[in-house]
């Protein structure tokens, strides 16, 4: 297997041209943490839809604006990047930005690049300015944090800076509404004057920064710096820092589940009411069953996960915008490096605990192609929220009589089992499939900032839309197919009419010899077949098999049926050992077609998603057999 992600081998997919191809495109560029998100928000009012750009296969969000002249323009929000010249991989944020700029230039579409530049880190930002000028891109520089600059006791000679770099410069507060008019006027002026007189990009960033920034002194800034240093002294303390980090992350996840739970229950109830209404209005027949149990059942599963996705996105955005997430990466970098990853992989791995699909997209911040591929390949092992209903069912069925603490410990153990397996898998992958020299880690540590509510909410909205589009459609389609498999009888079957005669049951029985060593019978097999596309549907499928209505909403009757199912000799079919084996399988197997599709999208090849399905299913099966067989030696029944 090649160590390179196949995105090198396969060119980016070309999408249809943008619907307003005649309009001016304002490409919003800038280093990470340059104030670009705030600037986008103030320019577009938070309006965001996914743009279609030739050669770009990832989402570039864009919003429509009207220029002072009345002409329309589109603001395209590029990912944060440091360089257009030093680009290693087309799939990273830098690669995406580079591809976008190259493709737009080649298409002949009217373009102005607006570089968001943090004036408190002027010399750093001017390095990117120089590169954009060298690329002969029409450029307007927007110094974003006027408020912070003033607070820090500095002033900038804007005309002198503009003369020195050879491009228009405006100084704004990116959170101020007046900014929109200033920036759009600068863009239109630049269009009118043309970019022929722009600087060549040969500039000494440090010298210019020293020449144009004046220190006017400010006691408040001194206090702020001291506060930052004090915070860092505690949060990045070699011993205290890691403990605080674990505590903050634990609180974050506890809060996500506590807040999301009532919202998920509400969604469940609404879908339950809709299903009941369908049955009442049209009676119980095959068609209403398809809509109520198939399509609405699937839609209910999707909606029940939405609150967790949205709330986790909000929590992570708050941590990122505040500046803490980069510090978390600093703390865990060494641990991840032992396993062939780095602090940059930390954010995607963390996001994977909510849903692997957005987490796989978030790996674009990992610059090293091998590390990025490794992170993508192990992400499906993280315990996403879709596993939780099955965990809950197994714990209630086989450990319902044990204390809440005991069940909580098993729950935590399952999370750690996923994390540990992912870390071991990445260690193995970095020595085999993704072997090769890694790129060095240099990670910018941003200043502490108060997150902006509008920006955080916009990101949460994007996450919700992406989840609905990428995951929701797959789950609903899977639920519909599953309904057909569970309802349509197998031709030639001699079983009793009902579920046992279905196509799914026949397949479940056919593979029983292979799954018996793990303690799985045909019913569990049917559940596993159903959850191949989306593991969320496992509990609902088991409910259908055991004739328990709405098992996904109220699994209690299902737990009783599972416990009371007997073999002909009167012994129980499902024991604690079966439950443990099922948990082992669910921890490891990638039962998620949305994840498979996301891996295909990010790697540009079916080879890697096929690899993920193969290795996680092999691991899951082996672990289930091992757990079922070994637990007998420990006297577990």
């Amino acid at each position: 297997m090649s160590a390179e992600p196949s995105c090198h081998a396969e060119p980016a997919r070309v999408r249809p041209p943008h619907e307003v191809a005649g309009a001016l495109t304002i490409a919003l560029a800038g280093r990470p943490n340059s104030g670009k998100s705030s600037l986008y928000n103030v320019l577009t009012g938070g309006d965001a839809h996914v743009g279609n750009y030739p050669g770009i296969t990832v989402d570039i969000l864009e919003g429509d604006v009207t220029l002072p002249s009345g002409a329309s323009a589109v603001v395209a929000d590029l990912p944060g990047f440091y360089s257009v010249e030093a680009t290693v991989d087309a799939a990273t944020d830098e690669g995406v930005a580079r591809s976008f700029l190259d493709a737009t230039q080649k298409s002949g579409r009217a373009l102005v690049v607006v570089q968001a530049l943090d004036p408190t880190r002027l010399a750093l930002g001017l390095r990117l300015t120089a590169e954009l000028l060298r690329a002969k891109l029409p450029l307007v520089v927007v110094l974003t944090h006027q408020d912070v600059l003033t607070r820090e006791g500095h002033t900038i000679d804007v005309p002198a800076l503009s003369d020195a770099i050879g491009a228009p410069v405006v100084l704004v507060n990116a959170r101020d509404r007046a900014t929109k008019a200033v920036v759009l006027a600068a863009v239109e002026d630049h269009r009118r004057e043309g970019s022929d007189a722009q600087g060549s990009g040969k500039l000494d960033a440090s010298r210019i920064a020293k020449a144009v920034v004046k220190d006017v002194g400010n006691a408040a800034e001194l206090r702020r710096r001291r506060m930052t240093e004090r915070l860092d002294a505690v949060l990045l303390h070699p011993l205290v820092g890691p403990f605080l980090f674990v505590g903050i992350m634990s609180l974050l996840f506890a809060a996500v589940f506590l807040v999301a739970d009532p919202a998920s229950n509400l969604m469940d109830k609404l879908v339950g009411l809709s299903r009941a209404w369908l049955a009442n209005a049209f009676g119980k027949n095959l068609v209403t069953s398809f809509f109520a149990d198939g399509l609405l059942g699937g839609a209910g599963t999707v909606l029940a996960f939405m609150p967790q996705i949205v709330i986790l996105t909000v929590a992570l955005e708050l941590l990122e915008a505040s500046g803490y997430l980069a510090r978390g990466a600093f703390l865990v970098d060494r641990l991840l490096r032992l396993l062939g990853l780095s602090g940059r992989s930390f954010l995607p791995l963390l996001m994977g605990h909510a849903c692997a699909v957005p987490a796989i997209a978030a790996t674009r911040i990992v610059r090293d192609p091998r590390e990025r591929l490794t992170t993508i390949l192990v992400l499906p092992l993280m315990t996403c929220s879709a596993r939780l209903p099955t965990y809950g069912l197994v714990l209630a069925t086989f450990f319902g009589h044990r204390s809440a603490l005991f069940r909580a410990l098993i729950f935590v153990g399952l999370y750690f089992a996923g994390i540990m397996t992912a870390l071991v898998a990445s260690w193995v992958l970095r020595r085999t499939a993704t072997k090769g020299k890694g790129l060095p880690l240099v990670l910018e540590i941003p200043s502490y900032r108060v997150p902006q509510a509008k920006v955080v909410l916009r990101k949460a909205g994007q996450a919700a839309r992406r989840f609905l589009r990428d995951v929701g459609t797959v789950i609903v389609a899977t639920a519909a197919v599953l309904w057909v498999l569970l309802t349509v009888p197998m031709p030639g079957s001699t079983a009793e009419p009902g579920i046992e005669r279905s196509v799914a049951a026949s397949v479940g029985k056919a593979i029983e010899p292979a799954t018996r060593p793990a303690g799985f019978d045909w019913r569990i097999n049917v559940g596993l077949i159903g959850s191949f596309g989306a593991r969320e549907v496992m509990v609902g499928t088991m409910g259908v098999i055991f004739g328990v209505e709405n098992a996904a909403d109220d699994p209690a009757p299902l737990t009783t049926r599972l416990r009371e199912t007997k073999k002909p000799d009167g012994s129980p079919v499902y024991t604690t050992r079966t439950g443990l084996a099922l948990l082992a399988f669910f921890v490891l197997a990638c039962q998620c077609m949305s994840t498979v599709a996301a891996i295909k999208r990010e790697t540009g090849s079916w080879r890697w998603p096929a690899f993920v399905v193969a290795y996680t299913y092999a691991l899951g099966y082996a672990a289930a057999v091992l757990v079922y067989q070994v637990s007998a030696f420990f006297g577990i029944v």
Partner: protein, 81 residues
């Protein structure tokens, strides 16, 4: 001396970056390039990254092995970021 050997609180200036072309170019674009002045703030435990502040105003986590390939000279206390 190498950046990895600089003690916490030490002010230094980068004299060369001994990495291969692409990596050195990217690190330079990020802000760690020849002539840049640095203040070593702290380092993570067990061989973790260094936390440095540049003269350009940025702060970075720099992996220990990268810091081992950035040659620096110490500055006097009155100099640097």
């Amino acid at each position: 001396m190498m950046l990895a050997d600089a003690h916490d609180g030490r002010r230094v200036r980068i004299t060369s970056v001994e990495l291969e072309g692409e990596a050195a170019a990217w690190i330079g674009a990020v802000g760690l390039h020849e002539g840049e002045e640095l203040l070593v703030l702290r380092r993570a435990v067990l061989g973790g990254p260094l936390h440095v502040r540049t003269g350009g105003g940025g702060e970075f986590a720099v992996a220990r092995e990268v810091a081992g390939k950035i040659a620096v000279v110490p500055l006097e206390e009155s100099e640097g970021p």
